[in-house]
Each structure stands twice: as C-alpha cells, then as structure tokens.
C-alpha cells in the first residue's frame, strides 16, 4: 500500500507513526510539510533510512522546491512530480494519508 504523509517530523508524530506501521513492499510518499522528513539532518533521518531497504520512499518535488529543500534529499529517496504521485496511487492497491 501507499502511505502518504504531509506533516513535518519535528512538528507532529505522523511520520514516526507512519514509519512504525509500514510493511516491506509498501511505499511512503512525503508531501507538503513532510518533505522535510526526506532531507538530511532531521529527527526523522535514522527512521527513514531504517525502513528504506524494504520500503520505497518518495518525495513530492514541487513541495520540496517550494520549501527550498532541494539538494538536501537523503540518498535513495526518489523524487516525483504530481504525475508521479498519481502513478504511485494507481500502482498500489490502497492508500492511507497520515494526517
């Protein structure tokens, strides 16, 4: 399944909770304020890296750029645009938004 998160990891626990529930084979997409979770040096870095072997992690590039965080993305995190967001939704049988 696709997990969508939109909260900064230093503001709310949505990223943390999402990563606690995600299963191998699933994907995580960081949008809006959750794009910070895809960048280096945050409180979420270790946890994001810990799930990455079995879980594909994506970040919505327009949101990343809007926050001036381009070029800080963790190795292995893939960038998608809104079209890529749509593809992720259709490629996974269910999606869950961690608000």
């Amino acid at each position: 399944m696709l997990h969508i998160v939109n909260k900064s990891p230093s503001d709310r626990n949505s990223v943390d909770t999402c990563l606690g529930h995600v299963k191998p084979g699933s994907a995580v997409l960081f949008i809006e304020d959750a794009v910070y979770a895809a960048t280096k040096g945050t409180v979420a870095e270790a946890k994001v890296k810990a799930v990455m072997p079995g879980v594909a992690v994506y970040v919505l590039e327009p949101d990343l750029n809007a926050r001036g965080m381009q070029g800080r993305v963790l190795d292995g995190v893939k960038l998608v645009d809104y079209g890529g967001f749509v593809d992720l939704v259709t490629e996974h049988s269910t999606c869950q938004s961690w608000l």
Binding site: M1, T17, H21, S93, T94
Partner: protein
C-alpha cells in the same frame, strides 16, 4: 483490489478502515469521523475502526462535557454494536504511551500491536484517516 471484493446481495462489499489519530473536543475530527462511520453502516460494508496515537483518547470513560457546552459523543461508540460495527482496534503502543489500559476505555476493543495494525491496514480496500 478486485480479487479481494465479495459480492453480496448484488452489491460490492469492501473493507473500510477508519483510522482515528486525533483527540476529541479540541478539534471536530473525532465527531465528524464518527458521523461517517455511522453512515457507512447503511452501506453494509466490512467496517473497522482503528484508534492510534491520540485517537485512543476518544474512548475514555468518564467523559463529562457539561462545562464546555459541547455535546458528548462518548455514548455513540457504545451504540456502534447496534449498527453491526464491531471491529474496534486499539493500538497497544499508543495506549501504553498514554498511561492507559483497556479498563479506561468505554467500549470493548481488540488491543493489537503496531505491527498487527500495519498488517490490518494492508488488508483494507479503503482507508479513511481523520
């Protein structure tokens, strides 16, 4: 997804999960989530409710909203059984992190681990999160 659907009485039955992660009264999400849950009963779907993070606070006993002039909706959780909504899951880790036990909750629930909750979510056709 199609292979997971059952046909019953000519209609589609999907697995719906309502994920509650917010405390009650401070915001309206818990109440309005419950309103969707009640409506979903009329569609005869396979409905589960999950209480995760601050969502477990929605199930506290002894709620008294007299002093804040808001209607209490605690009793609605008890009424769910009458709507054939009987799958209520509370996440163990969330409950423990808030110093709560099953005895503090107003309804009978199944307490499951975060990992089990993740498996359960994976099995759903539709997940609605409030």
């Amino acid at each position: 997804m199609t292979d997971e659907m059952d046909m019953e009485e000519g209609g589609v039955v999907k697995k719906f999960m309502f994920v509650n992660r917010k405390a009650p009264y401070g915001t309206i999400y818990a109440l309005e989530s419950l309103e969707v849950v009640l409506i979903s009963a009329a569609f005869e779907q396979d409905v589960s409710l999950a209480f995760v993070d601050d969502g477990v606070y929605q199930l506290m006993k002894n709620v008294n909203t007299d002093g804040i002039e808001m209607k209490s909706f605690s009793k609605t959780y008890r009424a769910l059984e009458g709507y054939d909504i009987e799958k209520l899951y509370v996440e163990k880790e969330s409950m423990e992190a808030r110093g709560l036990t099953e005895d503090d909750l107003i309804v009978d629930v199944q307490v499951i681990s975060q990992s089990e909750m993740g498996d359960l979510m994976n099995e759903q056709d539709v997940v609605l999160s409030f």
